[in-house]
Symmetry: C2
Subunit: 355 residues, 2 copies
């Protein structure tokens, strides 16, 4: 397979008419909880920022601290703490409820403001002549969850987003130990929402997701926290992203077989608890259209019943402004080959991979 500067192959091609118009290179790792790689396509050892893909790991202190029980948090509040939400009323309600139970208000959110991901929510604000606030930020649930953990732990809720705040130190340790890799301050960036994002290899990220999904390899406390958070996301997938969005659609149809979470700049991760596997992929250029397309191929190969819910993604048709078909977002020959190898793995009951 042809390679890019980073050693990564083209994974997704965008055709228009008879030729390929655009190309997306990247890397994919599939791992079990022990770190055995079922697939390593491209450079899976180079550290990448996971961005929002690890929100469920960042929410573990919310459970481990006891905040979830002390503040009687429900599944909606846990799900939105793991979310990159659309800013629709259902999301704002869950974030507000979380903050209220903790005794804080929106002014504590350090994520900054952006227009809601949801077009409908944006239009509602525009019609009312209002501007977006921090609560509309897709990360506001994560931030509310971090505030809850900080308060429960007796930490200062101001400055909770800074890398040296004890809560962020705790989160870094959780990510490091769950993924089985040291984190290096020389590979730490600041996320769009102002919390640290620690670069780590896709191979480690995939292992972390295998553990997040199955609990294998985690302490009993973290395994319990992971189970509660993932269950909450499975119970309310719309809270984890929003109407019409990939993660919501996949979990609504496939839970508890697939936990899935995207991040910015082309990162996407998934856990397949039944198979004991985790998936982590990064498109080099950060394009979401390629990220979701590549992940759809991998999910369909590992879980044949995913094919139906992913039918539109797997078709990948590109329509123009009059609704005419003008091209396709398609897997490259290299990705097709890798996926064909996954499909040939021995299975039990037509679904599970044989151990």
């Amino acid at each position: 397979m042809s390679k890019t500067a980073s050693g990564n192959p083209v994974l997704v091609e965008v055709t228009r008419g008879p030729i390929v118009e655009s190309r997306h290179a990247g890397a994919i790792a599939i791992s079990d909880a022990d770190g055995h790689l079922l697939l390593a396509l491209g450079d899976v050892d180079r550290p990448v920022y996971p961005r929002s893909a690890v929100k469920a790991l960042q929410a573990i202190p919310l459970i481990e601290s006891g905040a979830v029980d002390a503040f009687t948090l429900g599944e909606h509040e846990l799900a939105v703490a793991c979310a990159s939400h659309s800013g629709d009323p259902v999301h704002l309600e869950a974030v507000r409820s979380l903050l209220t139970k903790v005794g804080l208000d929106e002014s504590y959110l350090a994520c900054g403001a952006h227009w809601p991901v949801s077009e409908g929510a944006t239009r509602t604000l525009v019609r009312a002549g209002r501007r977006p606030r921090a609560i509309h930020n897709n990360c506001s649930g994560k931030h509310a969850g971090m505030l809850a953990a900080a308060v429960q732990l007796g930490l200062d809720p101001r400055g909770y987003e800074r890398p040296d705040h004890p809560l962020q130190v705790m989160i870094a340790r959780i990510i490091s130990e769950t993924c089985g890799v040291a984190l290096d301050r020389a590979r730490m960036g600041v996320d769009g929402c102002s919390v640290p994002t620690w670069a780590l290899p896709l191979s480690a990220l995939a292992r972390g997701f295998a553990r997040l999904g199955s609990g294998e390899g985690l302490t009993p406390q973290w395994a319990n926290a992971a189970r509660r958070l993932v269950s909450a996301c499975f119970a309310s997938p719309v809270l984890v992203a929003g109407e019409g969005r990939f993660d919501t659609m996949v979990m609504a149809a496939l839970a508890p077989a697939v936990f899935v979470k995207g991040g910015a700049e082309g990162v996407h991760c998934a856990a397949l608890p039944e198979l004991g596997l985790g998936i982590a992929l990064k498109i080099d250029d950060g394009a979401k259209r390629a990220t979701e397309r590549a992940l759809s191929e991998v999910l369909a190969a590992l879980l044949p019943r995913a094919r139906q819910v992913l039918a539109d993604q797997l078709d990948g048709e590109v329509l123009n402004w009059r609704g005419f078909s003008v091209g396709h977002i398609a897997p490259s020959a290299g990705l097709q080959h890798a996926v064909a190898e996954l499909e040939e793995l021995p299975r039990v009951d037509g679904e599970k991979l044989a151990q």
Copy 2:
């Protein structure tokens, strides 16, 4: 320099904190009107769809047919015929005026509808409880110009967007002869606005832009048409794109030294009439952030006085939702090297390249 699957080097890197988060590969050609290449970075022979970058070439029949004089079209109407406009009132007014002079209405526009590029224009529609129409499509000026040419030529204005319509056959011949390359139906796609887009090499596209800017190598009729269209864009750069957008900003500050036009999927072209050069570039993955960043480097190298207006692009700072600096969009080492070689070319009067 490292290469991608397509043989193209990484041109632009997006850093976050201490490491590179995302990478954009691509190719750049700089040519004179005779087809001599001053720069060929990456694969400049592979055909790419120029998309909206060639709107000025697609507008040549509007002049050549005599429509511009028969319908007493002004500079605003010519500029918007070459535009990927923002859908602000100034743009809609120019398109409506063009259609009215031709005796047609919006129902003739075959471009399909999308929300205006301009956030302000979108909000105005939302507040009024209205949906976008074809006139809001960024290509509506091009379509109105095509309709004007079709009517003046006595052609059926219905179906003007189809590849076999005589107007599109004429446009294909103009693109082919201006760029000095045969067009192949086996490399024709349908654009987002439903007109044909013909793939051609970046080297040919760069030559076509050198000719568009200087008139060299064109028939007197086409050279006159190019001059009138480019002059109209220089006179009203805001009509060619819109407030705050790259092409508008560059031409407002640098005309008549630079004519510039972007297209979808990472294509961007420029003409530098004073230097007798044309530039064509394509980012493999289609990302606009990389396209504008790479073109800024090239323009600043060829035209030192461009550095001031491009200062923000050349800095490339990435801010997060609270306005903190979290990274940079930066030229790769390979692009820096190529640009340094352009800067070392001998100059006359501190600006012009020596012949």
